[in-house]
Amino acid sequence: MLLKLIVCAGPATTGKTSVLRHMIRRMLEKGCRPAFFKIDVQYAEEDEALAAEFGIPCRKVYSGELCPDHCNVMVLGDALSWAKKSGCDILLAETAGLCLRCSPYVDGGLGIVVLEATSGMNLPLKVGPMLSLADVAVVTKVDRVSQAEREVFRARIQDVAPAVRIREVDALRGIGIGPLADHALGIPDATDRMQLRGNPPVGTCTICVGRKDVGWQSHFGVVRPLEQQAFYRGE
């Protein structure tokens, strides 16, 4: 399969789409053929905006009642086939960025997390595998904070995820995107058999199947009272 895969995650409104838009522009300048795929829960218009702007193949899927990262695992294979059939050589998948327990990255693809420098110094400690399993952490809105804050925010990311490459960008003006797009173009092609990088959470509980009573006493299977705080940090 001669296709590269980029999976982009990050909390809502951090500038994921702005980062990807500038990457797409740079990729087109270099003669590549990118496709864009968006997974969201109930509303997304990024696909239409990017299709109108660049005329590249774009589509979206609504996860609806499914967890969006779960949905991602289900449909990503199909999305790669679609991108390939559309004559593309790189697929940029933007995820909904909701759950801090999972990460949507795939071995064999490039995982990018987009974080904003304005969001508080403890953010890197809170986003879990979305950051620690990424290949690249893109820090946006660097123009909104002082240089000192930028440096401390960066150190906080490095404390949590020492191996993650950090790229600071001004996604509005596209400053700093060049090296990021070049990095993405340098990764190997995706393989036919791909695996999720992180462990998915424990699933299938009575809440999942529709029992809405509050309190663990009403449930069975995977239950947890407040006093039992066995803590699984994730990757």
Partner: protein, 264 residues
Amino acid sequence: MRDTVESITILGGRGKSGQSDAVLRIDLRMGDVASIVGPTGSGKTTLISDVELFADANTPTGRRILLNGAPAPTEYRDDPARNPIALITQHTTFLCDLPVSEFLLTHARIRSGNPSGVHGLLQKTLGFANQLTGEPIPPSVRMTELSGGQTRALLIADAAVICDTPIVLLDEVENAGIHRARALELLREHRKIFVFVTHDPHIALLSDYRIVMRGGWISRLLHTDEEERRCALQVGRLDDMLSRLRDSLRRGERVRAEALEGCS
């Protein structure tokens, strides 16, 4: 170890409308103080942003910045804590929610790489900042709670003491509600290259030269001449008089004619 910086060079590009910079090469040497002057919107901030980014014909202006006569190593761009430039922006609030002391200690740890010296740097930074602001900064207060003046004072102190970079860029320090003359005096004790974006006549005349901006392009480079140096002394006295006047108004006092003596 920090690499030695001897000079930084601006190679001309173009302004917003495509007009080429009239000065094609500006060399700033260690110890130089330069000002960037020009009307609002004339491209002053864009010029220091080119410098801060080590532009290499990859920003909208097409300018190039050389360090010691050669393109800057890319790791300066990749790791801001190794960047030999400290930029003091126009921010008057912090968004960082940590207490002042924790923030400064973290920053000192990153910049100095020497955990034993960080408490000394913290004290030195607060001491520096408190000389610039009328309201001393409590170390336990959160960064977000500092006033505009305290924020700017802390930014300047952090750049001078903790970053301690060979090149310091300051964007309109005069809008800060701090003691400007004192800031200049304290900064000049450090041997660095200083670039001020400024509308302030005193700062502009105390500089070794002024880079004049117009419509996004560099229109002129003026070296401060003998007459201007003499004027700077007078402007300094005017400035002192105005700041005494400002303080007296702040204290709720009446203004008397003798306060303006010597300036007619």
